[in-house]
């Protein structure tokens, strides 16, 4: 039978705050186990949580960027379950009245735009980390590090609107792009700063009622999301084809095998007995606060892409690449502000800059060629001081040393030769040295023109003005 897959995603976004959501402990990654803890995040009796205002601001940012309504009043709830990484025996989350509801994201798959609903975004605390280290003594033990306990998270819950693994990946990438643009999440999937659970079910094509879903966990890369969903589609189709029933359960994705497996015994844990947390007073967000946050939002990727095409006249491809991450876009914007010729800047950013950073495994923020240096260099090209070819040499030198381009040109004697007399002299020498080729060219083998240009450029060590070389050479070859 033919089946239609139905997918909804729950994404946990770890917020880039300095401190935890309900206490002043640092959220820095990689500290010694349990060194960033206090009575609140250890769940000691009598300790009281106090909400980090920044977390609310970041939640509002995320909500506005995904067209959600921001709830004027929301409350925190306790989600009760027992696990060794959860010291209080409950997780503080939001249940009945989350801070953001009814949003959406537009994704593009195969050239078609599709709208994916966002049911809600709520704030919650993360649990600690269970560690199983091989270096530690063997035996029936687990180890608990509570540094991560109480780290602020947003949970973004989508509607079951996706109909293929590709749509799920597109949605996830879009959301990832937005939260990193907003500066509320570092987006590091390997370290778990952006993680995803997928609810996947099948129904016969044409049916209206959704089938029973499985919840897939532990998917920490875009590639794995695709793999996990595609595996799950196959698994469920096989069960249904044999007349069986899909069991509603949580399944763990195993990246090593690309398969999912049942996490038995967790079913009953779904009875979380939520109730309002009496330790945290209701959160009221005023219209003024919302507007204040709205005015601080950066330009988002979709708007940027459109502006690059409409206002800067860049091709769609350039706009796509440059707007893909905030790092690239910020670099490009800074450079264009200093040298307002979008296309040359785009060519250099997408070409040499990206290449050099990639080879070096560096971030845009650490690029030795700052937007200002790149702009200065492009000005030298525009004024004819250096040729486009020499610019590559200057760029490499700037990248290595961080020196001013004008200084590099001066030190290395790279100034373009635009002196007609000097160029004529070089051309004469080249023509005299290659009489056979000159004769063949004049006999109709015009392809040889490139050969002459190459020889002239070589003789001038790349410094001859290419436009002048072409012009003079053409005249001289006419004879």
């Amino acid at each position: 039978m033919k089946y239609q897959v139905v997918i909804g995603l729950e994404v946990h976004v770890q917020l880039l705050t300095n401190t935890k959501i309900f206490c002043g402990c640092s959220t820095r990654f990689g500290a010694e186990p349990n060194s960033q803890t206090c009575p609140v995040c250890l769940g000691l009796p009598g300790a009281l949580p106090v909400l980090n205002k920044k977390v609310v601001e970041y939640a509002i940012r995320a909500g506005l960027a995904t067209s959600c309504s921001i709830a004027p009043r929301s409350i925190f709830a306790r989600k009760n379950y027992f696990y060794p990484d959860l010291p209080k025996g409950y997780q503080i989350s939001q249940y009945e009245l989350p801070i953001c509801v009814d949003g959406r994201l537009d994704i593009e798959v195969d050239g078609e735009t599709k709208r994916i609903g966002i049911t809600r975004i709520h704030m919650e605390e993360d649990a600690g980390k269970l560690v199983h280290l091989e270096t530690m003594e063997a035996g029936e033990k687990s180890y608990v590090d509570l540094n991560r306990a109480c780290t602020p998270l947003l949970e973004v819950v989508s509607e079951p609107d996706m109909r293929s693994a590709d749509e799920a990946v597109a949605y996830l990438k879009k959301l990832h792009q937005i939260v990193t643009y907003l500066g509320i999440c570092d987006g590091n999937m390997e370290e778990g700063s952006f993680r995803c659970d997928a609810n996947v079910s099948l129904m016969p094509v044409g049916a209206e009622e959704f089938g029973t879903r499985a919840e897939l966990k532990n998917i920490n890369s875009f590639r794995f999301v695709k793999q996990a969903i595609e595996y799950e589609i196959e698994r469920q189709a096989e069960i249904l084809d044999e007349g069986g029933k899909v069991v509603q359960e949580t399944r763990l994705f195993d990246p090593a095998t690309g398969t999912t497996r049942s996490m038995r015994g967790k079913e009953e844990a779904h009875d979380y007995r939520y109730f309002p947390d009496p330790d945290l007073v209701p959160l009221v967000v005023s219209g003024d606060w919302i507007e204040e946050v709205r005015s601080s939002l950066p330009e988002l990727p979709d708007a940027k892409r459109q502006r690059y095409q409409a206002e800067l006249g860049l091709p769609e491809y350039d706009a796509e690449v440059l707007a893909a991450s905030r790092d690239i876009a910020d670099y490009f914007d800074a450079c264009v502000a200093l040298y307002p010729q979008a296309k040359p800047v785009s060519n250099w950013v997408m070409g040499e800059v990206l290449r050099a950073l990639k080879e070096d495994n560096r971030e845009f923020a650490d690029c030795p060629v700052t937007p200002r240096l790149l702009a200065e260099m492009l000005k030298l090209v525009e004024s004819g001081t250096i040729s486009g070819k020499i610019a590559k040499t200057v760029f490499d030198e700037m990248y290595k040393t961080g020196k001013e381009p004008a200084k590099i040109v001066e030190e290395k004697g790279l100034v373009q030769v635009s002196d007609t007399g000097a160029i004529e002299k070089i051309i004469d020498e080249v023509l005299t040295a290659n009489p056979d080729n000159v004769e063949q060219y004049r006999g109709g083998k015009e392809k040889l023109f490139g050969f002459f240009v190459g020889q002239v450029m070589k003789a001038s060590k790349g410094k001859a003005n290419p436009a002048l070389v072409n012009e003079i050479l053409l005249n001289k070859l006419k004879g």
């Binding site: 705050t17 401190t19 909400l51 205002k53 920044k54 409350i75 180890y143 209701p282």
Partner: protein, 95 residues
């Protein structure tokens, strides 16, 4: 009866409590009595009244996002029944 024995067993399991048969019977009766007592509230007409989530009429208690000193590993682990280096050590959790 408001409360069944099965419900008591379920809640006990969620709370990781092991109850004897006598205790199950005892708590079923007690919980039932408590619920019957609280049930009096249902006699009130609460149409149009927003559910009370908090008893104190207060809102928006915030802290700024400024790091405060943690208490340190030794204090954090002081009450731990078992530890290894700077970790809490617990019975193995099976995934």
């Amino acid at each position: 009866m408001k409360i069944t024995r099965e419900q008591v067993e379920h809640v006990a399991k969620l709370a990781r409590l092991e109850l004897t048969e006598d205790e199950k019977a005892l708590f079923t009766g007690q919980l039932d009595g408590i619920l019957a007592y609280v049930d009096k509230l249902n006699e009130l007409n609460t149409d149009g009244i927003v559910p009370t989530s908090h008893a104190v009429p207060m809102e928006n208690a915030f802290r700024e996002d400024v790091v405060a000193a943690s208490i340190g590993i030794e204090k954090a682990l002081a009450n731990a029944p078992d530890r290894s280096e700077s970790f809490f050590r617990v019975p193995k959790v099976i995934e």
